[in-house]
């Protein structure tokens, strides 16, 4: 009998999550629109310069331009009112030879920066899900 009780718990939890998944805000809104996006992207670039494991990858970047490019891209991906006309990801990272480890370190910095900008757990994950497929074009180029 006890087995039956515990077997129904996962279903119960699943239903709880389904039931709270009904609000209609776009991801762009959840990310705090252009101000929110700009805030965490700026923070992420700032932290990247101070993290000795990946700082060298940002040595020659024009920070202002980088922040605009990344923010526009995130705005575009999250269905915000932006066009992303930047270069392809594999072109941008060509010759940088970014490793799996460096990629993961940057992702962790982006997550920290989103936390810093008070972006919710669920909005963070929705954005990460949109960015994840880019990994193949970014690493080992």
């Amino acid at each position: 009998m006890k087995h039956k009780t515990i077997k129904s718990i996962p279903l119960f939890i699943l239903l709880c999550f389904v039931s709270i998944s009904s609000h209609a805000d776009s991801l762009y809104t959840e990310l705090g629109e252009s101000d929110g996006i700009n805030k965490f992207v700026t923070k992420a670039v700032e932290i990247s310069h101070t993290d000795q494991r990946i700082a060298f990858l940002f040595e020659d970047t024009d920070d202002e331009e980088l922040i605009i490019q990344i923010s526009d891209q995130i705005c575009f991906l999250s269905d915000g009112p932006c066009e992303y006309d930047g270069q392809d990801m594999d072109e941008v990272h060509s010759g940088m030879e970014i490793t799996e480890a460096e990629f993961d370190i940057f992702v962790a910095i982006v997550i920290d920066s989103m936390e810093y900008a008070d972006i919710s757990h669920s909005a963070r994950n929705k954005l990460l899900a949109l960015l994840a497929p880019m990994r193949e074009d970014i690493i080992n180029q």
Partner: protein
């Protein structure tokens, strides 16, 4: 038969577990001085009861610690399970190499006071050592469309075979082979990431191997299913459910499938604490074993 590893006693487990707890739970612990690997928080799972990276009772395809390619990582852990009539203590360690290979070792001691006296058994503990290897074949837990898939084996050896032999077990050692496929789906349900894990295991082990291998009812390998489903409630908090099919090789007592509901907390990349409620069914004639599970581990 001579005791191969005589120093693995409950006392040793207690001392090592207490040492581990003191070490890990001290904020200024020396473990904090180690640089951990680059992989994201919680992507090494915790350590399951046989010493492999996974959740409570099921291995995952992930590698222990946080080592990415060209990095090493690892875990030390202590786990305690207490049911109506038994208690299980496990300690162990593992290393993950290049996010590719896992090597693990675990020592399990099952206290069987509740049946030792009434049945006149020669021992009130069942003990075994588990040595494991796991290799990631392909895929990435998070970034690839395909799940991360690994192949593993667990070599298990009873340190004392007297009781398992009395129950009808055929061998004091055995090897489990398994394939695990694990995927973290980031979008999950409304942005709460969902983890799915399935395992196919070939084994002769009775009650993990604590009651020996093979038996009078069935001496062939069983192909069994195991699975976990979890949700990341927060970046550092995983709520999940494990299910593990079990063989039924011994005529003296039936063996039931196992399950647990767990909550794993990763306060930082050096530490995780897991609590669970387990339902282990009938074990060696004692009905409906259920109870709590607590595990503490350090990553380096």
């Amino acid at each position: 038969m001579a005791h191969a590893i005589p120093y693995v006693t409950k006392q040793a487990h207690r001392v090592l577990s207490m040492f581990l707890a003191c070490w890990l739970l001290t904020p200024t612990s020396s473990i904090n001085a180690y640089e951990v690997g680059s992989r994201l928080l919680a992507t090494g799972g915790v350590t399951q009861i046989e010493g492999s990276a996974g959740s409570g009772i099921v291995p995952w395809a992930v590698l222990p610690g946080y080592g990415q390619k060209d990095e090493w990582g690892g875990e030390v852990f202590g786990t305690y399970v207490n049911t109506n009539d038994y208690d299980l203590s496990v300690i162990g360690a593992s290393v993950g190499i290049n996010n590719r290979v896992e090597l693990s070792i675990a020592s399990q001691i099952l206290g069987i006071d509740s049946i030792a006296q009434p049945l006149g058994l020669p021992d009130n503990e069942l003990k075994q050592i588990v040595a494991g290897v796991k290799v990631r074949l392909f895929g990435d837990l998070i970034y690839t469309t395909l799940p991360q898939v690994s192949f593993g084996l667990q070599y298990k050896k009873n340190t004392d075979f007297d009781v398992p032999a009395l129950t009808g077990a055929k061998y004091d050692h055995g090897v489990d082979f398994y394939v695990a496929a694990t995927k973290l789906w980031l979008t999950g349900i409304n942005g709460y990431p969902i983890l799915l894990n399935t395992v196919a295991r070939s084994t002769k082990a009775n009650q993990l191997g604590l009651l020996g291998f093979g038996g009078d009812l069935d001496d062939s390998r069983s192909l069994l299913f195991e699975g976990s489903v979890g949700v990341l409630l927060r970046r550092d908090l995983v709520l999940g459910f494990d299910y593990r099919q079990k063989p039924d090789n011994l005529s003296f007592a039936k063996e039931d499938d196992w399950m647990d509901l767990f909550l794993a907390w990763f306060p930082n990349k050096h530490l995780s604490i897991t609590g669970a409620w387990t339902e282990l069914g009938d074990i060696a004639g004692k009905k409906n074993q259920s109870g709590f599970y607590i595990s503490l581990e350090g990553s380096f």
